[in-house]
């Protein structure tokens, strides 16, 4: 699939059967990235493709001496995980979300779930971060309510997941975002653990998050550079608007 200069490359030739898409891209607290990485590792999902664009940072990743694209797709017939180990620059957000949602439509995605963070100023005092939900249509709102996920009732949402929801809505794809309360500018594996537990209500993966909690401090150290770059990019995406209230509510 190609949208302007973003290309989705499918490598494994998977025949998708109305998959659920889990999207974990770098954002506040790196909640989505940490969660998606953990899910891929624990479920041992195969790499099924990657996303490339001249709008992405000129970075490739080396794992075990082998070159990989930092923006990859994992999964099987029923589940697709979208994972990026590099920051999504603001100029790339619109074409990237258009290309991805076009592809989600082609593979017949049943539900698109963006896993991300919700900045909480008092995060240090929160032992178990709560997870809130946003949906792109009535059916998706019902899914959130059915699974007892508290809705974000009013406010601005900003960044990649906001545009992902918008593009899904334009294509009549059911989409939700799960937002775990997190540190705004520090990697937050605890928030990722909460998000994975909430995600399990929609995709019964049965993942034990104890390893994630156990390795929390190691993850925080190793994710510093991506967090730093993500914070810089987020500032350009008006992430601070998420702390504001809209002038008109209706």
């Amino acid at each position: 699939m190609e949208d302007e200069i973003v290309t989705i490359v499918e490598e494994a030739g998977v025949v998708h059967k109305s998959p659920i898409v889990i999207e974990g891209l770098p954002d506040v607290g790196l909640v989505g990235t940490i969660a998606a990485s953990y899910i891929v590792e624990k479920m041992d999902y195969a790499k099924i493709g990657y996303v490339e664009s001249d709008l992405f940072s000129p970075i490739m990743v080396v794992h075990d001496g082998k070159l990989h694209n930092p923006f990859r797709l994992y999964g099987n017939e029923q589940v697709v995980v979208v994972l990026s180990e590099t920051v999504i620059l603001p100029d790339a957000v619109y074409p990237m979300t258009r290309a991805l949602t076009d592809w989600f439509k082609v593979i017949g995605a049943e539900l698109v779930i963006s896993v991300t963070g919700l900045p909480a100023k008092n995060r240090i005092d929160i032992e178990k971060p709560e997870v809130f939900g946003v949906a792109d249509n009535d059916a998706a709102v019902k899914k959130l309510k059915d699974k007892e996920i508290e809705l974000l009732e009013e406010g601005f949402i900003a960044g990649t997941y906001a545009i992902m929801l918008r593009e899904c809505k334009k294509r009549s794809l059911n989409a939700i975002s799960l937002l775990g309360q997190c540190f705004p500018v520090y990697p937050d594996p605890g928030a990722a653990a909460s998000a994975i537990k909430a995600l399990d209500k929609f995709v019964p993966l049965g993942i034990d998050v104890s390893d994630l909690i156990e390795k929390e401090e190691e993850i925080k150290v190793k994710a510093r550079d991506l967090m730093r770059q993500t914070t810089l990019s987020s500032q350009q995406m008006q992430k601070s608007a998420e702390q504001d209230m809209p002038i008109m509510y209706r």
């Binding site: 080396v62 075990d64 001496g65 240090i124 540190f183 705004p184 500018v185 520090y186 990697p187 929390e216 401090e217 190691e218 925080k220 150290v221 190793k222 510093r224 550079d225 967090m227 730093r228 770059q229």
Partner: protein, 119 residues
Amino acid sequence: MRTERRIIKEGYDGNLEPLFEMEDKGDAIKITVDLPRVKKEDVEINATRDTVEITAKMNEAIAWERWGTIQKRMTFQTFQKQIRLPEPIDPDGASASFKNGILMILMPKVRRKVLINIE
């Protein structure tokens, strides 16, 4: 390219740069620093009117392995960061706390705001 150079530099001096956040609280400047793997007793803070320097030793070294052609193995055990402050502060009036790996430093500004009455 910038990131790569910094990684090599960190490898030489053995220090990691922690993530931090600075907030203007009106009469004071608040800084929080993310210091995973650090105990309260291993944190040292030195402040002047214009800068604050944080050094923190991790309770266990952390190693990056298999960094391709850059470096096979690098080990770090200390966070270090010197932060230049946007306004002068009173170091003697500063206070700090440490909870769940997050260091919080509150430093009163030298020039406090003065309420001007309207006649």
